[in-house]
Amino acid sequence: MAAGPVAGRFSRPAEMFWTAFSSTRHTGLFLVAPALLFLAIWFLWPVLSMIVSSFSSHSVDGVMVEGITFENYTRLFSSDLYFRILMRTVRIALLTSLCAMVFAYPLAIAIARGGPSLARLVTITILAPLLVNVVVRSYGWQTILNKAGAFAWILKQVGITSPPVLLYTEWAVLIACVHVYLPFMVMPLAAAIGRIDRTVEEAARVAGATRLKVFIRIVFPLSLPGLAVGASLVFSLSSAAYVTPQILGGNFSPLLGTLIEQQILTLNDWPFGAAISTLLIVMVLTVNLVFLNAVNRRFARWTESAR
């Protein structure tokens, strides 16, 4: 059979397969095919069928009426309640991203620029909460933000006699969301800052920039790609958050996630639940595309080459 020692190692079909697989322009396609197939079957198809179901029937006084309809969407936009919940969801998602950004910069700089032991310590501290279930963490925040909780106690020690009630308000949801989603902001940001050439910062300092100016003029703009990824992750995750707003916001400040759960599990109105879910997906997708596009366009200019 095969003469050479290399050819002899493979059986004939395996060798043919390898040749076809490894050296064509379809190689990349072969490599991503398993993941794509998985997503298509278990994600894309369910989402599409959900969107279809939001258009294919609606409920009238608890009875399903089949047929093509926009009734679910007109209902969604005709009621002030649903619009308020949508706005609250967007507001909390944006505020979470913003707060996470403010907290993430010092941490990301410590990870990217601190010594190896500091970087490891900060990374572990940030990632450790991910080991604890989000339900447990939310109940943890509940006991902290309780009227008789640790937060109120500290405020009383400081001398504030009537501490604000945070639990079951948007504030509680915001605080917990920032805590839960902070790692998703810090890690891409740290990676982006780590990629900034240190001599670029040094050049700025020699040229007369204080450390603050170096941050504003050099580190911040050059970390934008990482910030975009982080903000996009945090915004998407927190606008779709369910457990945290449910436990800490209660029924007094529900978000879209809570609304979907009510429609599907409590009221059994699946088509309307599907319509809210579709709205959520469209909103998150639009914000992400617009945002990432803006950042990418700016970043492309920095790396444009003479060729």
Partner: protein, 371 residues
């Protein structure tokens, strides 16, 4: 024509380092360095990698704090002054341009940090770009420039705010040979024109010879010799300097006598060398005779006898190097290399296996300390 607007910056600052040391944990990177760069002078810190030259430069910039010692610029101590207030220009090995700013913004950066008024800023940036032949490139991004152009932007960015001292950290390492040589000449002219005090770090002896008025040869965190380019080359203070700058043949010898400005030494196998270099070594003490390959004349056959500064041997091999022919002679204990200028090659060039005699003048006999 001349350049109209450049005359304002005459006279850079003088830099002095006294007893500068830097330790990282257990390793002493720089030990007790004393250096002086006079106003308007180009000083090169030359040495192999790891000799502490870059750390020394970074201490002058303020990017590294010395463990002990004092740095002053124009007589004023700056050791504790933060980087951004030292008013220095610096060129980095990888240029370190701001990738998100245009050429114009890069060059204007230092001025905007100093709060320079708009009109003056525009004028000075224009001037710096003209000096570095970058006019017309204002709106390009650094990524869209060639290596040489990026180098010029970095230079314009460093000189635009008229710093007291220009620091260069291996600035030409990433350029190809032709471009590097052109940039070296250009930089030297620019520094002279602006009267900028310049401190250059390099491991490339040729670069130091081309650019510097003074060369400080460093080794293991210490200064081996500080002298003019010519003196470092012709009168190296140590075996290391003679070896690092140019090539040398080293012949272990012992001093016979030293008087009237002439020193006589005895080499291995009875060769006698005379040198016009004086030495503080006494008779009988060990010394090393160093001879540059290009100081040597070659004649066929054995020495005529009685002559000093000759050494003979069979040709081991020859290599043609363009402007010269390198000839290796088999001398007991060493391979003696001679660089024969092309026009000095006679009708019968040295062939491997034939016997030749090398001789050189007393002025070209260098005596260096043993290690």
């Amino acid at each position: 024509m001349g350049n109209p607007a450049v005359t304002t910056n005459r006279g850079g600052g003088s830099v002095s380092l006294s007893g500068i040391s830097r330790r990282y944990g257990a390793s002493q990177v720089v030990s007790d360095v004393n250096l002086e760069a006079r106003s308007g002078e180009i000083l090169a810190l030359l040495g192999p990698s790891g000799c502490g030259k870059t750390t020394t430069l970074r201490m002058i910039a303020g990017l590294v704090q010395p463990t002990s010692g004092e740095i002053s610029i124009d007589g004023k101590p700056v050791t504790t002054l933060p980087v951004h207030r030292r008013n220095l220009g610096m060129l980095f090995q990888n240029y370190a341009l701001f990738p998100h700013m245009t050429v114009l913004e890069n060059v204007a950066f230092g001025l905007s940090m100093r709060g320079t008024p708009k009109a003056e800023m525009a004028h000075r940036v224009k001037q710096a770009l003209a000096l570095t032949h970058l006019t017309g490139f204002e709106d390009r991004m650094p990524a869209a420039l060639s290596g040489g152009q990026q180098q010029r932007v970095a230079l314009a960015r460093a000189i635009v705010y008229q710093p007291k001292v220009l620091l260069l950290d291996e600035p030409f390492g990433a350029l190809d040979k032709k471009l590097r040589e052109a940039m070296q000449i250009e930089l030297r002219q620019l520094c002279n024109k602006l009267g900028l005090t310049t401190i250059l770090v390099t491991h490339d002896q040729e670069e130091a010879l081309v650019l510097a008025d003074q060369i400080a040869v460093m080794r293991g965190g210490r200064i081996e010799q500080v002298a003019s380019a010519r003196e470092v080359y012709e009168r190296p203070a140590s075996h290391f300097v003679a070896d690092f700058i140019g090539t040398s043949n080293f012949i272990p010898s012992a001093v016979l006598e030293s008087r009237n400005g002439m020193t006589t030494l005895a080499g291995l196998s009875g060769n006698v060398f005379t040198s016009s270099m004086t030495t503080n070594l006494g008779a009988g003490e060990k010394a090393i005779v160093a001879v540059r390959p290009e100081s040597i004349r070659l004649t066929p056959g054995e020495p005529s006898g009685g002559e000093t500064n000759t050494i003979s041997g069979n040709v081991l091999r020859t290599v043609f190097k363009g402007q010269s022919l390198s000839v290796w002679l088999d001398v007991p204990g060493l391979e003696f290399v001679c660089a024969l200028p092309i026009e000095a090659i006679g009708a019968t060039p040295p062939e491997p296996g034939t016997r030749w005699t090398a001789n050189w003048s007393a002025e070209r006999t260098l005596i260096v300390r043993e290690q």
